[in-house]
Amino acid sequence: MSGSAVPTTAAAIANAVRAGEVSAVDVVDAHLAVIDAHEAEVHAFNEVLHDHARATAAEVDRTVAAGGDPGPLAGVPIALKDNLCTRGIATTCSSKILEGWRPPYDATVVQLLAGAGAVAVGKTNLDEFAMGSSTENSAFGATRNPRDTAKVPGGSSGGSAAAVAAGFAPVSLGSDTGGSIRQPASFCGVVGVKPTYGAVSRYGLVAFASSLDQIGPFSATVEDSALILDVIAGHDPRDSTSIPEALVPITPTLGDGVDGLRIGIVSELMGEGIDPAVTARVQAAAEAFEAAGAKVGEASVPAVTYGLSAYYLIAPAEASSNLARYDGVRYGLRVDATADRQGSGPWTTAEMMAATRTAGFGAEVKRRIMLGTYALSAGYYDAYYGKALKVRTLIARDFDAAYEQFDLLLSPTAPSTAFGLGDVSDPLTMYLNDVCTIPTNLAGHPAMSVPFGTADGLPIGVQILAPALGEPTMFRAAAVLEAAVAPLAPTWEVAR
């Protein structure tokens, strides 16, 4: 049905498509047009799925025409981080070692989205194997921040954040291991959510750090993230770490406000190392909460100061093991004997494996693999990895103590606004980006970044933290903040 305006939010699109007011094909075409016009400036995608998207949209329209209901995400264009397995569609993790690899299966979340009527429009760029905070570690070129294309979009889910900020899709999926959804959400001025560990199935998410990884949504509105999460969250028998109980839906109570809620500002994350412009917005958010009837106080989670250290032992350790499978035997890149090869005798599998991994992994991935290998190796386990696991317990305990006094916590999402492409080359400096986000991954709790103002034209997000399975409350608070601040329109809008 052409002629009707194409809505811009997922909620509105789904309603309109289900009601037959607008066709899914028109919706996807409108978004593909924006992508085609501006993707070159942003490089949010590793691959845009023109044909696949149109075919899916056509299917949705057929369902509507036949009187059926395609689902709560009917016709909604969605971009998928390129570490989510999509059957028959390249899933590269932005790495040379998986360039062109087509999985023979779909991730659970991909299946759920399809079942809800969503239309995948592309696979988005990321830091290689989700390791990074700027998307500059991609083997296929960096993504640019749509708000200021000289800046990074953040990472590792930079492409997914940028896609929403640019207006290429109303929603996207990313993954968050130490802040890889929330930090780019903050840098790009969009909503980004990391759910409770185990709330969303990891089956089909290419693993980085298994005990920390979670899939979550990006969106321009709080409601849209709630919509996505209500579709993709839930028990999956194919993921042993999946929470067995049914989850309380988020959308129904979204507008319930924060009256009477106790909200604590995490003091350890408001001091040294955080830009004053950022802490100022956190204070402003606190005021917005108070105005809405919440009680805001100061919270202390002392162990979070050890979060960065514990994380940079635990995550690389798990990653070093998760990435061992990339050995050139079964899929992906394989390097055969080269002319300048050292040594004589037949080219062996051991040499092939080493040559493949050396050629296929970028520097940051190699660094983390080596760091993790070291932390696990004989003689070092107790001092490093083993100890980090205990620190993790301390962090969880400190959060639990804080949540006895407060219903929600508040903090900056990132220590600064988006920095310039190429500005940060030192790994440790880059790691400091995650100081506010890492603790929640370690504890397994949910957290989300909500855009709340700008500094020098660059977005600043504030982070709302909740105890495990506290998503409904967390989103209520997010909705309050959203209402208190002027919305950031996408960089480019779909033609109406």
Binding site: T241, T349, M353, M370, A378, G379, Y380, Y384, A388, L394
Partner: protein, 112 residues
């Protein structure tokens, strides 16, 4: 059950990561590093580990380690056959195939 051999000696008090350490873990991880890369990575990794000294120095006494955020136990599935994946789809993306199997160069090491 084979015991892991102590291939690297335990660190001395406050010892930092050496070039040899990096070369060793690179080998364990099947990564070939050039001399230039060894020179580049060693201080970078040492800096991260040094930053993690605060963890190393922490007295965590009898705090139990946390491998999982939540105390799930006994997640099991029934012993029932489900369809496998199509062999052709899997082999189609394999680097080298022969007789329905994955072909690899000669394996010189014996299986551990």
């Amino acid at each position: 059950m084979a015991e892991p051999s102590a291939a690297t000696p335990a660190p001395a008090e406050g010892a930092s990561l050496t070039r040899d350490d990096v070369a060793h873990v690179a080998h364990l991880a099947r990564l070939n590093l050039t001399d230039a890369e060894l020179d580049l990575f060693t201080p970078q990794l040492a800096a991260v580990l040094e930053h993690a000294q605060d963890v190393e120095a922490l007295d965590v006494g009898d705090v139990p380690p946390m491998s999982h955020p939540f105390p799930l136990v006994n997640v099991l599935r029934p012993d029932e056959v489900q369809p496998c994946v199509d062999r052709d789809e899997v082999l189609a993306v394999a680097p080298a195939v022969e007789d329905g199997r994955f072909r690899v160069p000669p394996i010189l090491g014996e299986e551990p």
